[in-house]
Amino acid sequence: MMNENVEQHNAHGGFPWKHVIGLILSLALTLIALWIVVSYSFSTTFTLASIIILAIFQALIQLLFFMHLNESKSRVWQIIAIGFGFFTAATVVVGSLWIMAYSL
């Protein structure tokens, strides 16, 4: 088992380009989504589809640029955590749609 009690170093390696690019990309995606909704220039179907696609890209950017998705040596916790994340997200979305179906 890796023991981080013994050694803990703050790595200060250069300018954090990755974070800056991630920040710009995530801001851009947010603004595009906002513009699509607020401008009212598209059909409802297109609006919904495009903001869902943008949301998926947003999630990927968060995972890759900020959450160190591909930096760990042992992948097993990431797989478990992401698996559980998918489980809860699917439960919340599918469950809510099913529960609220009678009133929609």
């Binding site: 023991n3 009690n5 559980f84 994340g85 919340v92 529960i99 009133s103």
Partner: protein, 654 residues
Amino acid sequence: MIADIKAFLSDFLVLGDPLIYGADISIVLSMVAIVFVLSYFKKWKWLWKEWLTTIDAKKIGIMYIIAALLMLFRGGIDALLMRSQITFPNEGFLDSQHYNEIFTTHGTIMILFMAMPFIVGMMNVAVPLQIGARDVAFPYLNALSFWLFFVGAMLFNLSFVIGGSPDAGWTSYTPLAGAKLDPGPGENYYLIGLQLAGIGTLATGVNFMATILKMRAPGMTLFKMPMFTWSSLITSLIIVFAFPVLTVALALLTIDRLFGAHFFTIASGGSPMMWANLFWIWGHPEVYIVILPAFGIFSEVISTFSHKKLFGYKAMVWSMVLISALSFVVWLHHFFTMGNTAAVNSVFSISTMAIAIPTGVKIFNWLFTLNKGRIEFSTAMLWALAFIPNFLIGGLTGVMLAIAPADYQYHNSYFLVAHFHSVLIGGTVFGMFAALHYWWPKMFGHVLNEKLGKISFWIFMVSFNICFLPMYFVGLMGMTRRMYTYPEGLGWMPLNVVITIGAFGMGIGFIVMVYNIYWSARYGKRDKTGDPWGGRTLEWATTSPAVEYNFAHIPKVETADAFLHMKEKGTTGQISKAPFKPIHMPNNSGKPFIQAWLMFFAGFGLVFEWYWLAIPAAAATMLVMAFRSFEYHDHHYIPVEEIERTESATGRLN
């Protein structure tokens, strides 16, 4: 001009109720007293250096627990006020509005500002020690978590003297909690207070997951971890996946109320039912967040005081894993009667009953741990033993409530109220009291008095049953929750009198416990060994209270019950054995405290829709975070000489 000020103050301050004036006076008096004592004894610097800026998990844990006890007092007073009103329903002690406010604050405070900090406090106190670590993975974030919880709780508590309390129930259901039916700052306090505390809790979840997965002592594989650590890991996992739903739901309702959106109003295509749905997607996992750590504590306490290995370790772990997954698929049982289809109700009814299976497995494991054990009836053990039957009553009535057709009869009645108090008090509160007596020496270096402890236990436990067993019956007789008055002749009065006697009895039990804390601090037996109970896990391997760095040498773990194994092998001295190496520790910081209070002012601005306050305070918060990003000197090394001095002062140096 003066008329304007008068008009403003009459809205800003809550006027006209003698109870509130009494509270105003006592708040002012206690603040003056605190300032006077701190100044008279010249303790301001001590307070700042030792407590407000600390990022030591042990001290943060103690602050969480103090806050939780204060909130238990506040929530308890709310409960007694409600009981007094219900016992004499037509005497006009509380009017309906005041009663609504009190049941709202009682529920919110007990769950969010009592149970949660109690649990997180125990995690801070015990988890790093149990896994042989020197602190949590992110100590600075840990301090920020605490202060965010604290300012959230303070903001929420401010409501009853400034602006008025929230009054739509702790579930804050729309449309009742929407801007149209409930204007004014009350519900805003609820939304913003919970938001601040919730962000803190979310960070705690991340922190403890990382701590437990990454900072265990060498040799401690996952299946050699103490059971409380396991329960904290599972709890952290549930926090990380459940709390974002609350964050989003609160934000949406805040946007509805402050900026006129329609997420939860019918008007422009929103849905009030969606609030109930989102609230319980968080709310049901939340009840497992508050019960699983208690399960972990009972496992530790029962094993220690039976002087036996925990029965069915792996079954315990896997049942917790199963509970964590199931906790996300049962939320609809909180609104069976909302009008869903039969298929929806059936599925959630069955998934709810399924939770009884892993929970039952755990109950049997505790019973088999007791079987043929050498049982020692310490106060902590009494709380753990009382938990089993009392929680079982709550659990079984829970299965009754899970039957969707029958729930149409029970729902919103005192039967339900009795059920969730049985599980929350019989489970969480008993668990926290057990933990308080069990880990008190580890926190403060002296044990709590056993005799006073047992007196408070018996008074509280018996009163608890006097209070909540009749409540099931008065519920079956048709009394619904949240009613502030009822006519004569329904036959509810005698049972309500009994319930109220029980409620005041629990208050007396709590007072005895507080007196025990005072008595033991002055005269209690000092714990020189660090191991007052014959402990089995690593927190007992170090001194009581633990030194700043927890362990001079990180212990090497070979088995579960690691400290017991070390005692059997005679290797307990290894932890304090010279030569030492310098120990790397994080620096204290005042930034979490400052940032949290800036967020408090931003929150206060949002509550009153004073954007001239909210916007600058939010900007200042960002500024503190930016400063923190450029802080490079955030750690130090404790030199060998200082470790030697500390270790020889504890008498352990060999």
